[in-house]
């Protein structure tokens, strides 16, 4: 089997016997497996139950609950925290697709409460204001899987070692500009190709592990697999069907869309079009058809990533 599974951790897992059958929750296979089921899908940022239903009807693979969309976080400023518990509960009761929610980087208690109310995946996200400038959450302690952002391979490997089950590019959230997400996925892919070419050269791999501040065993695993042991999604700045198709063509396993949908003036139609383009990313005719479902005049205006006051991708510990 080519699917690799890192050593199973005992922390964060719960075993119990049901009529002499032992079942174990929160194992690496169960967490990473959940992330694999999201592949080729679109996860949409939403702030209430109404938007959640629009997203589900449009074919979202999951919804991501926030208090404010990244664009508004940027505009309003202040401290961005996890969404209201009551809003998340209402959304849980209203849609059948998985529900993800964001917590602040390092904020263990926000993550525990999200696990407690039953969200399906937690995004330890730089879109919210980091709560710990030194450390990320030790995610092996949780039965709920986590997704983390990464700008390069070293960051991705460190997050995987902390127990995250899914990686996404950081991009530059709330800008409607894909340029940063594109450079992140290209860099990760380039670094993986480089490590792959060194397969078998343990000394060189150990040097890379030291450079990336990651374990040798994980670096060696990457050189053997030629890819991350978890899925890698695109996120940060995607706002049109063509953006989604572009990132899928660059090798992303799926797509997160933040402000791009509900900050546009044609949310339902646009959501549907992005889903279509993500599934048929390698078929230019269908991508064109999807792109024709939206009106560029209705796209969010967007921001140039060069002159931002706040670069979210650079927040928090690295």
């Amino acid at each position: 089997m080519v699917i690799s599974v890192a050593q199973q951790e005992t922390r964060g897992t719960k075993s119990e016997e049901i009529e002499k059958l032992t079942i174990t929750r929160g194992t690496t296979l169960v967490k990473r497996g959940f992330a694999r089921m999201q592949k080729h899908g679109v996860v949409m940022d939403i702030t209430n139950a109404e938007q959640a239903r629009i997203a589900e009807d449009a074919g979202a693979v999951a919804v991501m609950v926030l208090d404010k969309l990244p664009y508004d976080v940027r505009k309003i400023g202040g401290v961005a925290r996890t969404a209201s518990v009551n809003v998340i509960r209402e959304i849980i009761d209203n849609v059948t697709i998985p529900i993800m929610a964001k917590c602040r980087i390092g904020h263990v208690s926000e993550a525990q409460l999200l696990q407690g109310i039953g969200v399906d995946m937690i995004d330890e996200s730089e879109v919210l204001t980091p709560a710990d400038e030194q450390r990320h959450i030790w995610k092996w302690d949780f039965t709920t899987p986590f997704v983390n952002g990464a700008k390069n391979l070293g960051e991705a490997l460190r997050r995987i070692e902390e127990g995250c089950a899914m990686i996404r590019t950081k991009g530059e959230p709330g800008t409607g500009n894909v340029a940063e997400a594109v450079s992140h996925i290209k860099l990760v892919n380039y670094e993986i190709r480089k490590i792959r070419s060194l397969h078998g050269d343990k000394q060189e791999l150990i040097n890379i592990a030291r450079e990336m501040r990651a374990s040798f065993s994980l670096v060696e695993e990457i050189s053997r697999l030629g890819r991350l042991p978890v899925v890698n999604f695109a996120a940060g700045g995607i706002s049109t069907p063509a953006d989604a198709a572009f990132l899928m063509n660059l090798g992303c396993d799926g797509v997160f869309v933040g402000s791009g949908i509900f900050k546009a003036n044609d949310a339902a139609q646009r959501a549907r079009a992005i889903v279509l383009a993500t599934t048929h990313f390698d078929n230019p005719e269908i991508v064109a058809e999807a792109q024709s479902m939206i009106d560029e005049n209705k796209s969010m205006l967007g921001l140039d990533t060069k002159n931002l006051d706040l670069r979210m991708q650079e927040r928090g510990p690295i």
Partner: protein
């Protein structure tokens, strides 16, 4: 070639690549030759001997293949003509007659109605309740196999002609009806034994 078969993995959404690589191993083990590819359009489905519908989100898959009415009809027709199909988790839901969600109740999905079963979606609960365990599947051989349940469905009703091939805690989690097999757990995340069984059972049509 007598033994050569065409296998497709439905490439709408879900763990498509995992099923492709698993099927490659299964073909070797079953000593069969043939082609394995991702299928998405009705013309791809026409010459298949076997189709795998992977795990993923059933609402997404059903809404996307319903738009492509031709794909939906091709799959249905090919199944009735004897094409072998394996449905995993979301794939099981798509193949079924009807499904209820544990929390929401009735859903707006379309079904292929090829497999005479009714299912309950998310029957074990949310992701926190997802689990791995070991199951007896006599069809695969002696010894227990590892089974990964991820927001998994269960089979609540079966028609005449549907065989139960695995149960978990008295709940039906794998079934077979002539050329169709469906599981609520994910064999592709563990090893290729289930896929090998599927490949061995495919007859050239």
């Amino acid at each position: 070639m007598r033994n050569s078969v065409n296998i497709g993995v439905l490439g709408i959404q879900g763990d498509i690549e995992e099923n492709i690589s698993c099927t490659k191993f299964a073909m070797k083990r079953a000593r069969r030759r043939g082609e394995i590819k991702v299928v998405r359009y009705s013309e791809d489905i026409e010459n298949l001997d076997g189709l795998i519908i992977p795990g993923g989100e059933s609402t997404v898959m059903s809404s996307l293949i319903s738009v492509q009415e031709k794909v939906f009809q091709s799959i249905k027709r090919r199944i009735s003509e004897g094409m072998s199909v394996m449905g995993i988790c979301a794939g099981m839901i798509l193949l079924s007659r009807k499904a209820n969600d544990r929390v929401i109740g009735k859903t707006k999905q379309n079904f292929l109605s090829a497999l005479d079963i009714a299912v309950e979606r998310n029957a074990f609960g949310r992701q926190n309740d997802s689990f791995e365990t070991y199951l007896n599947v006599p069809l695969i051989g002696k010894g227990k196999i590892k089974a990964i349940f991820i927001r998994a469905p269960i089979v609540t009703e079966i028609g005449i002609g549907v065989d139960v091939i695995a149960k978990f805690n008295e709940k039906i989690v794998a079934v077979k009806q002539n050329n169709i097999v469906a599981t609520s757990f994910h064999p592709e995340l563990v090893d290729d034994r289930f896929h090998t069984l599927f490949i061995k059972g495919i007859s050239k049509i």
